[in-house]
């Protein structure tokens, strides 16, 4: 399996790098991936269905227990088959759907990369490899939703999808890490076999992640937006496969989660039911065929989430069967809508008319697939739903009733879909162009498969059963064409009948939905909530940034000064007790210190730039005197010379500047900051020197200067020998600063002169 996943990656890279030459062969090349997947599945299926999972492993970062570990059991195989079959179908379809253009290779590459990532998710046993592939599907989905990148709507929808599923993914990562920590293993198989206790937060985070990816309410808003993607992408990612990743994951984990928590099942149930009803209800209001299908998907995902997340074998069985059924009919319907769209130029049910007459095969496809969606007997949709209802009946009437209500909505929006696509137009109708080829036959094939399986479900029975066994240990259900007169049949036929009666009165339904909508639309919508969240984030970011990043140099300097002072002073103040004050130095220090102090205070007060320079000199020469008075002749000499040269430079610069400068007004903040810095320096010196414990390394210099370095001036020997590296750095600084000065002012001064 690893090699198949890798093949997808290589195909994606190959298509991208050959994008100039590949032209219309992008999809024919890409389809190698799904075909290989199908081949692999057929080759490996017998062993896996018999109960011998295939295990593969690729070490990545052993130090973090990070590796890719695959385990293909029956459950994984079912998804692998789905990805392979639907993927191959859609790639063939895409070859006809897109006119060759410069950006088609990017689409093909993203699709094939996505297919690889999806295979990774469903075959991973290691939690971190699930996460790796999970994030890759988020990224490819982002690229595909935003494919029509000149449309602001598409870009924004891509962002919405990426943010919601990305946030969910990170929550899930947190959950995974906690889960692995609690269960002492990263392998799903281990965690399911020995569910860790006390990991409530972990389960919750994982659930959030799964719900976000599978568009569960209230996080479902991104999915309808994602319909901005080209139709093949919508069919593949946002209906048949990627959105099932969350369902897949809860299916894997729910037996363990329900064993260890008592809230999991009620929460999953609530989420699933809410999603079913919201999705079904919204689907009834759409006028865009694709959006109608998208909300239908939301509704179906709620149902699947509920079944898979229950941890109940009978429901899990139904979930597995429905995943397959939904994958087939929903992709067929999306592709059919794509065909209608390219034949008529619209997907608006108010403007479509005569499509059935002009495109009989598309009509046949659509009706067949829609029948499967509405669970009309003799379709695989019916078979699967029957299996699900059969399980639900065992869980109580209330539950079945709610699901049946959702099924009524399903039938109703299916009817709306068919009438809308093929019934009379209410608005100005469009013409219909003839189309043919893959665009027609691929959805036909998918819909036909649903019909065949509806009549001969035994074809996939081993697959479905081994999948159910893999997650719940039991194939607690059956896959039959006609279940006989059981309660489940009553529920499903009943909901079909009620749904059909709603279809018969479309005006009444519209009136009701419109009436209710006037109330519900006033409430928050998920899209609106996302927009509001985004606006809040941007506004908050602006405000916070404006606070810290004021752009004002004095503020920055004061912040830095105070931070340093705080870091140093707080611990030092504790050591201040018992510190001895040093003595007064040589007498000559006092007048020198006075010169320095008076000059420095003068610097604060003066308004003449040249006076400031002279005063700065006073400070420097005074300090030089202090160095000299304390046994530092070299230091003193250097200070005097540097000061002299500095004054010369100041003078050279200031002759270009105005002679006076304004005195800034004193502010409390400035005074306090200055006092804090002064106090810090004083305390730091006092405490540091007082706490000296060990002798200085300088003793070595004094001892070795003459014998080893042949120099009597220890300071100079330090500079050119003991610590010559400092000096080397120092002259480098000098040289570079000189280069910098020349580059900064020479061109400007020369220009000024001429």
């Amino acid at each position: 399996m690893l090699s198949i996943i890798l093949l997808h990656g290589l195909l994606a890279l190959g298509i991208l790098s050959a994008r100039r030459f590949i032209g219309r062969y992008a999809f024919p090349v890409a389809v190698i991936g799904p075909l290989a997947t199908i081949g692999w599945a057929i080759w490996r299926a017998p062993g896996i269905v018999d109960g011998t999972p295939r295990v593969e492993r690729l070490e990545w970062v052993p130090g973090l227990d990070l590796s890719v570990e695959l385990l293909v059991d029956g459950y994984a195989l079912l998804f692998v088959a789905l990805v392979g079959v639907v993927g191959a179908a859609i790639f063939f379809y895409s070859a006809a759907y897109f006119r060759p253009g410069p950006r088609v290779p990017l689409f093909a590459a993203s699709m094939v990369a996505f297919a690889g990532a999806m295979l990774g998710i469903v075959t991973s046993d290691h939690l971190l490899s699930v996460f790796i592939f999970w994030e890759l599907t988020t990224i490819t989905s982002y690229l595909l939703v935003g494919y029509d990148d000149r449309s602001a709507k598409a870009r924004s929808a891509a962002l919405h999808a990426a943010m919601v599923t990305g946030a969910g993914g990170l929550a899930m990562l947190g959950g995974f890490v906690l889960l692995a920590d609690a269960g002492n293993s990263w392998l799903i198989s281990d965690l399911v076999a020995n569910p860790p206790g006390g990991a409530g937060l972990a389960w919750l985070l994982v659930l959030i992640g799964a719900a976000s990816k599978s568009a569960q309410a209230p996080l479902h808003g991104w999915l309808p937006g994602a319909m901005a993607a080209p139709t093949p992408a919508s069919a593949f990612l946002h209906s048949a496969t990627m959105v099932k990743a969350g369902v897949f994951l809860v299916g894997r984990l729910s037996p363990a989660a329900t064993a260890e928590t008592d809230w999991w099942w009620p929460v999953v149930l609530t989420i699933g039911v809410a999603t079913m009803l919201v999705g079904g209800w919204q689907a009834l209001r759409q006028t865009d065929l694709k959006l109608l299908l998208a909300y239908g998907t939301v509704s179906q995902l709620g149902f699947l989430f509920l079944l898979a997340g229950s941890g109940i074998p009978a429901l899990a069985y139904g979930a597995v069967a429905l995943v397959l059924a939904h994958g087939l009919f929903k992709s067929a319907l999306f592709l059919a809508v794509g065909a209608i769209d390219s034949a008529t130029g619209t997907r608006d049910i108010r403007r479509l008319e005569g499509v059935g007459r002009s495109l009989p095969w598309v009509f046949a496809t659509t009706v067949t697939a829609a029948a499967s969606m509405a669970a009309v007997p003799a379709t695989f949709g019916f078979v699967a739903k029957e299996a699900a209802f059969d399980g639900l009946v065992g869980e109580g009437t209330g539950l079945v009733a709610i699901v049946a209500l959702a099924s009524v909505l399903t039938v109703a929006y299916t009817g709306r879909f068919l009438l809308g696509a093929f019934g009379p137009a209410t608005d100005e109708p469009t013409g219909v162009d003839q189309i043919g080829g893959w665009k027609v036959w691929v959805p036909f094939g998918l819909a036909g498969a649903g019909l065949v399986l509806g009549l001969v479900p035994g074809l996939v029975k081993p697959l479905v059963e081994s999948a159910a066994v893999a997650i719940s240990g039991d194939a607690a259900g059956k896959l039959v064409v006609w279940p006989g007169l059981v309660p489940a049949l009553g529920w499903s036929l009943g909901s079909l009948a009620v749904g059909l009666s709603l279809v018969a009165v479309p005006r009444a339904v519209d009136a009701v939905t419109a009436a209710v909508a006037t109330v519900t639309d006033r409430g928050p919508s998920t899209e609106g909530a996302f927009r509001a969240g985004l606006t809040g984030l941007l506004g908050g970011a602006d405000r916070l940034t404006a606070t810290f990043q004021s752009g004002s140099l004095p503020t920055y300097l004061a912040t830095i000064a105070l931070a340093v002072v705080a870091a140093g002073s707080i611990p030092l103040l504790g050591e201040l007790g018992g510190v001895e004050l040093p003595s007064l130095g040589p007498a000559i220090e006092i007048p020198l210190a006075l010169v320095v102090s008076i000059s420095a205070i003068g610097l604060l007060l003066t308004r003449r730039r040249f006076a400031a320079v002279i005063l700065l000199g006073g400070v420097g020469y005074g300090i030089a005197g202090i160095y000299a008075a304390n046994g530092g002749p070299d230091l003193s000499l250097t200070q005097i010379l540097v000061e002299t040269l500095a004054i010369a430079l100041f003078a050279l610069v200031l002759r270009n500047l105005p002679a006076d400068f304004d005195r800034a007004r004193a502010s409390i903040g400035r005074i306090l900051t200055s006092v804090a810095v002064a106090g810090f320096v004083f305390v730091a010196g006092l405490v540091a020197v007082d706490s000296r414990t060990a002798p200085s390394v300088a003793e070595y210099y004094v001892e070795e200067s003459l014998p080893s370095a042949a120099g009597k001036n220890v300071v100079n020997v330090i500079l050119v020998d003991f610590r010559a590296m400092d000096t080397l750095g120092e002259i480098t600084v000098l040289a570079v600063a000189t280069l910098g000065v020349a580059a900064l002012v020479l061109p400007l001064l020369r220009r000024k002169q001429s």
């Binding site: 002299t644 370095a709 000096t727 002169q753």
Partner: protein, 147 residues
């Protein structure tokens, strides 16, 4: 600045002063190892001389004292210091390791020659280059140098 250039006597006087300053700067360079001084101090004294030369004669004055581009001095000084450093690596075993030679010279008698003086010469050259470069750059465009 202008004052200095306009007063001829002062100008002459200062111009005369540059020569002894230059000599003093060399003395500081070579005395540094045993007495106060060294490459820095020496170079800085030369720098003061260059500043005086600029004040009295403008750019031409600095060119009288330092004939080359300041960048060449900077590069050469750095190179000399680095070569001393690498020489230590080659002969002594460690980068910047210095060697001491006992020499008896005809005029000075027995002298300990320390290779670190090479390093100090590098320092000196850089400092002179810095003073020259800074004064020439910041002094450029004044347009009032004597003819």
């Amino acid at each position: 600045m202008t004052v200095l250039r306009e007063s001829i006597i002062l100008r002459r006087g200062l111009r005369v002063a540059t020569a002894p300053l230059a000599v003093f700067s060399l003395y500081l360079l070579f005395a540094g190892h045993n007495r106060p001084g060294g490459g820095f101090a020496g170079g800085l004294v030369a720098g003061v001389a260059i500043a005086l030369a600029w004040a009295t004669e403008g750019e031409a004055g600095t060119r009288r004292l330092v004939a080359v581009r300041s960048t060449v001095l900077l590069g050469a000084g750095l190179a000399v210091a680095l070569v001393t450093g690498f020489a230590g690596l080659v002969w002594g075993g460690a980068f910047l390791e210095s060697a001491v030679w006992d020499l008896s010279l005809p005029l000075f008698g027995d002298v300990k020659l320390v290779s670190a003086i090479g390093f100090d010469i590098g320092v000196y050259l850089v400092v002179v280059g810095v003073a020259t470069g800074l004064i020439r750059s910041l002094g450029a465009g004044s347009g009032e140098g004597p003819a």
